[in-house]
Amino acid sequence: MSEYIENDPRGISVGLVEKKAFTFAEPPDELVLESGCRLGPITLAYETYGTFRGDNAVLVCHALSGDSHAAGYYTAEDPKPGWWDIMIGPGKGIDTDKYFVICSNILGGCMGSTGPSSINPKTGRPYGLEFPVVTIGDMVEAQKRLLDHLGIERLLSVVGGSIGGMQVLEWAIRFPERVVTAVPLATTTRHSALAIAFNEVARQAIMADPAWQGGDYYFGPGPTMGLAVARMIGHITYLSDEAMRLKFGRRLQDKADFSYNFDADFQVESYLRYQGSKFVERFDANSFLYITKAADYFDLGRQHGRGSVTRAFSKTRAKFLVVSFTSDWLYPTYQSREIVRALKKNGLDVSFCEIEAQWGHDAFLLPNERLSEMIRGFLDRAYGQI
């Protein structure tokens, strides 16, 4: 998602922010995961923006490649702000003048929270594949511990897109008494075969790289090529036919004619190679495996409703704003409509809008006045009613 991050054109920002860390589940009180494994100690990296007033907390959940740095700058020299700076800040869709915003790096991630690249206290070496498989439910459970630590009993809202949206749904069902409203964007109650297929190809690209070394690569170069290819596959699914046509077409990169070899002739090739290599600099290949697996396993109906999404949502009491995007073929609108249908069947308060957008799944990360205004209006109503 980093390729979209822009400085606010109006110069509005939450300003300087600080990444903090919270450690819990110290042995022998490890966190018991959904798989039955025990994991501890666990550290979550997190950031907060705005002032906590007891009833104004908004939890923002990030997607696959995001982190706790959702808004603002770490230093005055920082070239780019956090990944959702267009949405979070003074007077923005999630207004930090009104709300206290929390964003934490997910369990299994690699941006300061405990994940496969963390040191296993039992061996003194990075976990690698000894890290237990975590689920979206485990990520949410860990976030709940963080909120307990911060003294936040109720969330005015949980907001997130894609895998972040899965966490939003999980929050609303797992902790119904703590969630007043939920805003799942461009997400699903479970991956389609198509989504699993792309994730599997991406994982295979990593695992087929000889430098992956069965996940134990932390003292070597690591599967840079495999991870880059995995990211390239991801980027294709985040865009759309239309987005790619507009963004690249068949234009050539810095040349007038074909090279008649296997260099990156087309702009789209060059773009994917660049995005792949940039991603390798900041992301851990094993985290990519663990997080995509967690997303593939996520199945709200199976986990919470004995196979029924409607039954799963009967546990929540939150008010929902569900949003999808027309050109998102990774999590198409019909999947959001399934969420809406299940909420209606339960007599729950739900708003839904399918936004016309050409940028595919990534649309939720791009500046979108309509999305910002809807989130603003939805949160303002909820805050006014408390």
Binding site: L321, K344, E373
Partner: protein
Amino acid sequence: MVRFEENGIRFDLQWVASWIPPGSKVLDLGCGEGELLHYLKTHKSVEGTGIELDEAKAARCIERGLSVVHGDMNREIRDFAENSFDFVILSQTLQQVYEPAELLRHILRIGKNGVVSFPNFSYWRIRLQLLLTGYAPVTRELPYQWYDTPNIRVITLKDFKKFADAVGFEIVRSAALVIVDEKRGGRRVSFLSNLRAAYGIFQIRKNHQETLKQTKSPAPSKDESQRKVKETPS
């Protein structure tokens, strides 16, 4: 006399609103930018929901803090449980509905009451236009040419009453309205309403008699049900 527009809503919507008791649970089908829902929420503490086909209008509703689902009412209405609402409102849209009987059955399945309003096609101005000019009528209430109208049906107040009998629902109350002019607003007409009214508003509910009949009559025996099948024209 009711003002043409007051508190941001048209006079026919003001009339609809006057029938909704405070604190009711309301569904507005085809809610537009939420004028009626907003009015009911602020003036009557109504718990309101809307369905709107147009993305920009649905988004505008959500921005205003209303609960609105962007989608096709004919499809969206199916997901609500029985008696989910005190009132389900279908305002100025019946003439655009492809399967009106099906939609009304759903309205009365999910709502204890329905409120249906539509432009009256037997309004004298319409009759006169057709009679005198020979062109398809274009009026303030139905301001479209035949080639650009979203309206696929013409309905009169009398037709709707006949329709109630055919579909099996009960008309609890009705109001026939006419616009006097845009400055002074509209008023109700009671005499020769099918001729003089520009709009009709009907509050409907499930036919109590029918429901009683259905629940009281014993289950048909095998012979009877076979006989019934034979009687049904193919």
